[in-house]
């Protein structure tokens, strides 16, 4: 029997992917260092602005949706009852 392709299930690969993710994030910050940004609106010119923007906005979106989920989430048969 052909062995199943299970690359993403293996623990060592998962660890590698995490390292890859962190490395890419650092790399994008590194780009800021080599090519200082003028910024389109002025205030977005400082180092790592878009990193902070991406991080904070996504974290907020997840937290807000999590909080709203407490009120908004209902069982799947909610409308059939």
């Amino acid at each position: 029997m052909k062995k199943e392709f299970d690359f993403f299930d293996r623990e060592e690969n998962k660890r590698r992917l995490w390292i890859f993710l962190y490395a890419t994030c650092v790399f994008t910050l590194f780009l800021d260092l080599i090519f200082p940004r003028e910024g389109v609106l002025g205030f977005d010119s400082f180092f790592g602005f878009y990193a902070i923007m991406g991080f904070i906005s996504c974290a907020l979106l997840i937290l807000i949706s999590k909080l709203l989920g407490i009120i908004l989430k209902v069982d799947e048969d909610y409308y059939d009852r």
Binding site: R37, V40, M53, G54, C58, A59, L61, S65, Y78, Y79
Partner: protein, 584 residues
């Protein structure tokens, strides 16, 4: 002749002979029709008008300009690929309405007056419903019913606006709306309902996920994007649309994050993406309008691609809930790759079509120094990667091993996805063919180092947040309450309250008035003359010293038989008149 054919007519008339074809020939025919349509649109010259007079009003079934042409291209192109996707399908109940629906949407885009637009608009609502009904499940029947009811209501609002518009201006020509009065506002509401702007948005995530595998691919493109077209045509630069658009982008993300069903995630992501476009319309400058149109163009392609990959998964596994799926990368790698390209495109990753189109809208906000709009759009851009870019592929193809080993989907579906993936990357790397057909000629390039690096930074840190917050994003077997609560739970509740309230009142009235009072009144009228006569005469009788009890029997008998002495009658009449006189 060829330069004044209605593009929609090819599909609408062409659909009539679909049932005559059997087997593969039918599917080949379905693919050829949009190809012919695309060619005809290509040949149409901007500035072509076809108009005639109708009760003193100008009816313009064909108006060709750069704006209508670019929407015509993408509508026919998407139809072409969608029918390749459904090449395996031999079901007239889906194929026929699909052609009619797409034909009507082309009719809307090429109509130059509001009446023609309205007719095709309603046609779209009706024929699209069949794509939901064709799923033939109880849930889809109910969803289709709600869908058509919402769209008929929206159509009526639009019609009311159009009637008022004729009354105000004496014209039917559909151009940029100048004043904001009840007529234009009603028309705007009608358009915004189809654009799925909250709170008029719940029909979309309610109905689309219940449609068939191919139905979802087709539906995702036309209704909302014809609405975007009408907004560009009629409401460019209306500032309220900036606010509506910003709300849509965030609303779409938050609900998509809450959702469990993969096609429902994609449905909410349509609202999010259309939000960018509505915002662009609101900004209204040449670059923002170009961005809106370019984004609509690219969005149709990558969104269809995402719906195709989700459709393939649904087709192969019969499941669409994230909690039931996972680990499909093992057996559906091609679907994963194509879906992944769609996911990267919607997230506006550099080298994909989203990057070259969406950034133009954001650039429009920069040009106008709309800082808050810019911030919201950036937050939403980051959020798109979160919900559609990573969440959808992650929970369907990775996350956990669901034990499902479906295997790759059929070849026609894979081919269609490959074509769409190619276009996504092609327009991402070389967007000039698209830029050349946009409504305005604006020199714009998305590729400069600063833009690429800032976009990469934004997206990679969004990805980081997704995986760091993964425990918070665990899927639950739930749905989320949206504004459809109003008519799904609110309306029955309202009915119950009205039922209890009004029927209770009815009951009470029956008991008091019908059962009790009628008896009393008829009794009163039956004995009133006797009683009045008795009451009037008794005092006189007493004065004369006669027996009153004898009088009572006497008067009652006399009135019953109609044998009152004339003097007595005349006397009582006079007394009665005096009483009336005194009262009055």
């Amino acid at each position: 002749m060829i330069d004044s054919v209605l593009p929609g007519a090819i599909l609408i008339l062409g659909s009539l002979i679909v049932p005559l074809f059997k087997g593969r020939k039918k599917n080949v025919y379905m693919v050829i029709l949009p190809a012919i349509t695309f060619y005809l649109i290509w040949k149409l010259k901007p500035g072509t008008y076809l108009n005639f007079h109708f009760f003193g009003l100008d009816i313009i079934p064909l108006r060709v300009d750069r704006l209508s042409k670019v929407f015509g291209y993408i509508f026919s192109l998407n139809a072409f690929v969608a029918f390749i996707y459904s090449f395996w399908l031999d079901d007239d109940s889906q194929l026929l309405p699909a052609l009619l629906y797409i034909g009507c949407s082309l009719g809307v885009v090429f109509s130059g007056d509001l009446l023609t637009l309205y007719i095709f608009w309603e046609g779209m609502a009706i024929f699209s419903t069949f794509l939901i009904l064709a799923r033939k499940t109880e849930k889809s029947q109910k969803a289709a019913m709600r869908y058509i009811m919402v769209h008929i209501s929206g159509g009526l609002i639009l019609l009311a606006g159009i009637v008022l518009f004729i009354f105000n201006t004496g014209s039917l020509v559909f151009e940029q709306m100048k004043s904001s009065d009840p007529a234009t506002l009603l028309i705007l509401i009608g358009f915004l309902l189809n654009a799925a702007a909250p709170p008029l948005s719940a029909w979309l995530p309610d109905a689309y996920p219940e449609s068939t595998v191919t139905g979802g691919v087709i539906l995702s493109a036309y209704t909302t994007k014809t609405a975007v077209y009408t907004l560009v045509r009629g409401f460019a630069g209306w500032h309220i649309l900036v606010i509506v658009g910003c709300i849509m982008t965030i609303y779409g993300i938050i609900y998509a994050l809450l959702e469990n069903d993969m096609r429902r995630i994609l449905a909410y992501s349509i609202i999010n993406q259309v939000g960018f476009m509505v915002c662009g319309v609101g900004i209204g400058t040449e670059i923002a309008i170009n961005g809106t149109v370019a984004h609509a163009f690219c969005h149709i392609i990558y969104k269809a691609l995402l719906w195709m990959s989700a459709g393939s998964v649904l087709y192969m596994t019969g499941r669409s809930r994230c909690t039931d799926l996972g680990g499909l990368y093992k057996t559906m790698p091609l679907t994963l790759i194509f879906g992944g390209i769609g996911a990267l495109s919607i997230s506006a990753f550099p080298a994909t079509s989203g990057f070259t189109s969406k950034s133009m809208i954001i650039e429009g906000a920069v040009h106008e120094h709309m800082i808050w709009t810019w911030i919201v759009l950036q937050v939403a851009s980051a959020g798109v990667f979160l919900h559609a870019g990573i969440k959808f592929p992650y929970f369907v193809f990775f996350a956990k091993d669901s034990g499902l080993r479906p295997g790759e989907t059929n070849r026609s579906m894979l081919l269609a996805m490959a074509i769409m993936s190619f276009i996504c990357i092609f327009l991402g790397v070389y967007p000039d063919p698209l830029y050349n057909v946009l409504p305005y000629r604006v020199g714009y390039s998305a590729y400069h180092l600063e833009h690429v690096s800032s976009q990469l930074q934004l997206l990679m840190f969004s990805a980081l947040v997704f995986f760091l917050f993964l425990p918070l994003l665990k899927r639950t077997e739930t749905i989320s309450i949206d504004t459809d609560w109003v008519y799904r739970r609110g309306a029955p509740l309202f009915y119950k309250i009205m039922d209890r309230g009004l029927n209770g009142l009815n009951d009470l009235c029956e008991r008091i008035f019908i059962l009790k009072m009628v008896g009393k009144i008829s009794e009163f009228f039956a004995v009133a003359p006797q009683k009045i006569a008795y009451l009037l005469y008794a005092p006189f009788w007493k004065i004369r010293g006669k027996d009153v009890s004898y009088l009572r029997g006497d008067i009652f008998r006399a009135i019953d038989k109609g044998a009152m002495p004339i003097g007595l009658s005349a006397g009582s009449a006079i007394v009665f008149l005096i009483v009336i006189y005194l009262i009055l």
